[in-house]
Each structure stands twice: as structure tokens, then as C-alpha cells.
Amino acid sequence: MNTTEDRLRAAFAAKAGQLTEAKLDELAARHEAGVEDLHDLDRGEHTVVLEPIDFETHRVRRRWVAPALAAAAVAVVAVGVAAAVGTSKHANPPAIQPTRPSGSIPAPSSSPTAPPSASRTQAVAPYLSSGQTGSLKDVAWSLVGAGWRLLQPAETGNTGRSLFLYDPADGRYLISDQLAADTKLVGWSPDGRHAALQLPDELDQIDLHTGQISPIVSGQNFITYTRPHGLAVLVSSDSGLQRYGTDGTHQLSYPNNINGVGKLGGQPNSMFYLADGSAFVTMGASEAILLSNSGAPLRSYNVPAGRTDCHPIRPWNSSAFLEWCIDDQDRSGLYLQPYAVSGAAVALYDLTEQSLINAWPLSNGDILLANSGHDCAETGYQILHPDGSLSPLRLPPGVPALGYILNMSGDVATFTLAPDACSSDQYGTLDYNMVTGVTTALTDTATPIVNYPTE
């Protein structure tokens, strides 16, 4: 038998051998062609036409942030401003006066179904106390809603992997300890009662009230539940995007070339439904698109000037969604912006020197921003305050510099805990309420988390 060292050398040689001088020349030629294309690009096609925006309030001055967050500036601007400055990332910072518009911004969500943010720390009975574990019969199902979460700790018990329902006070209820070891929690149905479980070759659904597991379909990867009732799921495989009823009935094969997009599909959360279930947002050829339930293209969202490959992330509120785009000349640059579903006026969260990759609205009006880390450094988090100022997020006690936010539920950020700079290993999760400052140890292992489906 070959030694591991021999096998390693052979594998490296096989992989490296794929890259030849000729292939390198071909790749360089592709880049050359790409640059010529850029020179010929009619920027007018990418101009975003906007409704008038009120610039009088919430004026933001770009600030350079702490070295730990890199020499970078995150600014909030309207699309019109961004389009005007074009490649503003290369501009001299003082020359730009980005402004946060007020009236037309898709404001952070305040869903009527969402509990007050402080409820997580002020929770009283009938919630369990943090650290307490109850059973299915202890769940007050009429209370289950925003602020509740499903968690699947990585450890395997005597009978199988466990699935817990967490209440807003971090009390937990065992839903099942019978899950197969390779099961992964991937979705929570809008009906509030069922959750999707992905296995390597099968998609299952669990009834949270009973713990009963039933198969939906084989050979397909879960993407999302349909809305408003979660009666079906969108799944993907090599054959493209499909819709199956939760009873396993095949309902629809989506066309494999809508507006030149090619096969639709992706990972969980890569597409999401409007709240009324009439249409869903997904990624098009290089821009976000809105498709009807039958796959008919309803709207294409313009790619702002200087950007490309815009991916929808998730709903921002009932009328807007969040997406990120890539700088069309710097593939490593990412930009984040809320985009109105209607296609109307939008506000653009413009990244100038640093990669802004996610944002979450907090109940106190702040917005938490995440920037990608550099090398093996930590992800940078900042708070954008209502007055437009930025401040770095101080990580709570117990969270190493390398912790990153795995999930946001209201004001509560769930941080993963990692041992060293370049490790993908995690040794637990911790909740941190961004508004109250309360921290709670959540699990000892990496944990898939799914929020109650409020939107």
C-alpha cells in the first residue's frame, strides 16, 4: 500500500499537472478579452433610474474605522449617488459625501408578529429558563413564533442526533433524538409545524408536534419552502429546479433557461418567496430576478454601475430584500444593498474599501454590518447608528476574536466559537443580545440554526 505521503505527492502532481503553459496562456487570453469587453462596455445599460430621495436627514460622513477592521470605510448612499460616483472605491475618501436617505429607504423590519427585542431577556413563564430542557409535551405551541429557533447540536446521542426547539428565553425542548447522523436541519415551514431535514440522498420533513419524520423526495437538495403555507418545497439537482408537494408529489419542473439564466438552483436561502407566495426572488444571469410560481420572469433588478453578479440574500422587510454584488473590476470586492421588491427606489449600502457581506436591522434603529475578514483575521463587525455614524462592535466576553455570527434572530446574534485563526473547527455557540448586552452559552458544538419563519 502506498504511504499517505506517496498518495499526497501523487494527488498534488495530478492536480497541478492539469495546469499547463498552454492553459495558462488561455486563461491570460480570457482575462485580456475580459478587459477589452470592459473597455467597450456601455455603462448606460447599468444606470439605475431612481425616484427622488430625501437627502436632508441622516447625513453620513465616511469614517475610517479601527485597524482591527482594516483601513476601510463603509458608507450608506443612495443608488443615484453610487451611480454618479461610479468606481467610488478608488476615489479619494474626503471627496465623497455619501448620504443615507430617509423617506424611501426600505427600513428595517418591524413585523407586527415580531416580539419586542427585549423580550428575550425579560422572558418569563411559560418559557423555560436558559439551560433547562423540556420535552414535546412542555411546548406551548400557541406561543411559538418570532424569536423561537430550531437547533441541531452536532453531538450524537445513544439513539441518534437531536433536534431542539429553543424558546426566546433559551429554554429548550427536545423534539427528537432519532435523527440519522448525517441529517442536517435546513428549513422551517411557514406553517410553523414542520421542518425540513436534508440527508445525503433524501429530503425529509419532521412534524415538530409529534417528532414524526416522513420522506418528501429522494436525490434532491432543499432550497426553500413555498409560501404562505409551506405546502411544497423548491429543490434542485442536476436536472435543475423542481417543486414537490410535501407529500412527495412532483408539481413542476422549472425551465432550465429563463432569460439566459441557465439552470436555476442553489443552496438553502439562495432564493426566497414573497410573503404572499405569489413569486420568488433568485439569482439571474448576473442580477437578481423575480419569478412567478410557474417560472415566468416578472422582474429583473438592475445591476448598479460598477457591479456584477448580484445575489439575493434574504428579505429585508416586507417590501425589500437584501443582496450582495461583486465589483466588476475587482472580483474580491462585495457590495451589499437593500433592493425594493417593487423595483422602485432603493438605498444602496456602498462598500468602498472593504467587503461588506451582511447586515441586520436591530430594534433600537442600529444596523449591524459584517465585513469579511482578511487572511485569517476575524470578520469585522460594525454598528451603523441612526445618525449615520459607525462604531466597531465590541465582542462580548467569551467570544474569541475569530468568532463569527452564525445566525441573527431579532437582536440576538449567535456567535460561533473557533479555536484559532485558520481553523474551521468550532467548539460551541453563544447568544449575544446586541441591544441588552446579555450573553448566553447556547451549545457546545457547531449547530445548524433555523429561525421561526416570520416573513
Partner: protein, 184 residues
């Protein structure tokens, strides 16, 4: 990332001869001699040919900009190697962070360019196992078992101590043995 047309790349490198302390760095010659080996290191680290080519090109551009800071022109190759490793790590870190936050996997796009080139299954198994290792261990193993660098050279390339090279290599191989069920 600055991307130049191929012709411009060569021309810019032709003009990039730098004389420092009586010695000359011939960037064009360096490019011709080392771009493939550097690109292969990058490929093993980022698993994408187009990105690997870009990483190497950027390393040469960085060298061109900073050649006057090199104390010894003979260190240019080491400089390039370090630049390639750092750029690859930075790029991977960024990819990883984005995935963590967005639950969006772009692997389909990242590997599409290589779809016509399939690595034999037994090699792919090893490469997949390597991908599960911490970043630093991957880098050490690539530089040691592909580039055949000494511990001292790896330490210099990665900016770590020789002891750290040794421990990362050992831990990486131990983990691979476990994953692959083989003996060293």
C-alpha cells in the same frame, strides 16, 4: 485586482527591470521561468485555474511595485511564493466568510472552468481530505510535498517558525492518515 491584457502584462514586465544594489531583477525572465510553478501552487491552494492565474499575475505586479524594497534580488522568487500563498489564503478566507454568512455556495461557478478536467478518483479523495485541513496545514503540505521546499523555506514563505512548520506538517499528515486510513 488589476487585470491587464496578456500583451500588456508582458510589456509591463519587460519595462519592469529593476536595478537594486548593483543587481538586476529581470521580471520578464522571472515570469517566464516561474509563472507555471507558482500558478500550480496557487491551483493547489485555491482549486481554481482562473483564480490561480490571477493570483500569480498579481504577485508579479506586486513584485514590480516593490522590487526596490527587496534587499536581495535573488529573493524575488521567495517573495513571489509568499505573495502567492498570502493572496490564495486571503481569497479563500473571503470565500469562506461569505459562505458562512450567506449560506450561498458558489462552488458550481468556481469549478466550472475546470469541469473538463477530472482528477482520478483516488487522487480526488486525497485532495478532498486535504481540503478539510486547517488552512495553515494545507499550505505547509503543498509547499512541502508539491514544491519540495525545506522547512526553512516554508517558514520563510509563510512567515512562521520552523517549529510551526514541523508541527503543522505533522498534524496535517496525522489527520490525513486518519481520513484516508493509510499509514505514512
Amino acid at each position: 485586482m488589476t487585470v491587464f491584457p496578456m500583451g500588456a502584462r508582458v510589456r509591463s514586465l519587460d519595462r519592469g527591470e529593476v536595478v537594486e544594489r548593483g543587481a538586476t531583477i529581470d521580471l520578464a525572465a522571472l515570469y517566464a521561468e516561474h509563472r507555471l510553478s507558482l500558478a500550480r501552487i496557487a491551483l493547489l491552494l485555491v482549486d481554481d485555474m482562473a483564480t490561480a492565474e490571477d493570483v500569480v499575475h498579481d504577485a508579479f505586479i506586486a513584485l514590480q511595485r516593490n522590487a526596490d524594497k527587496l534587499r536581495n534580488p535573488s529573493a524575488a522568487v521567495a517573495y513571489l511564493r509568499t505573495s502567492v500563498v498570502n493572496s490564495s489564503r486571503s481569497l479563500l478566507r473571503k470565500r469562506q466568510t461569505v459562505r458562512k454568512h450567506l449560506s450561498l455556495a458558489r462552488e458550481e461557478h468556481a469549478t466550472a472552468a475546470d469541469a473538463d478536467l477530472i482528477v482520478a478518483a483516488e487522487h480526488q479523495e486525497v485532495l478532498d481530505a486535504v481540503r478539510t485541513l486547517p488552512r495553515r496545514q494545507q499550505e505547509v503540505l503543498v509547499l512541502r510535498y508539491w514544491s519540495n521546499l525545506s522547512e526553512a523555506e516554508i517558514a520563510e514563505a509563510l512567515g512562521i517558525s520552523r517549529g510551526a512548520v514541523k508541527s503543522n506538517a505533522s498534524r496535517g499528515m496525522d489527520k490525513l492518515e486518519t481520513l484516508l486510513g493509510a499509514s505514512r
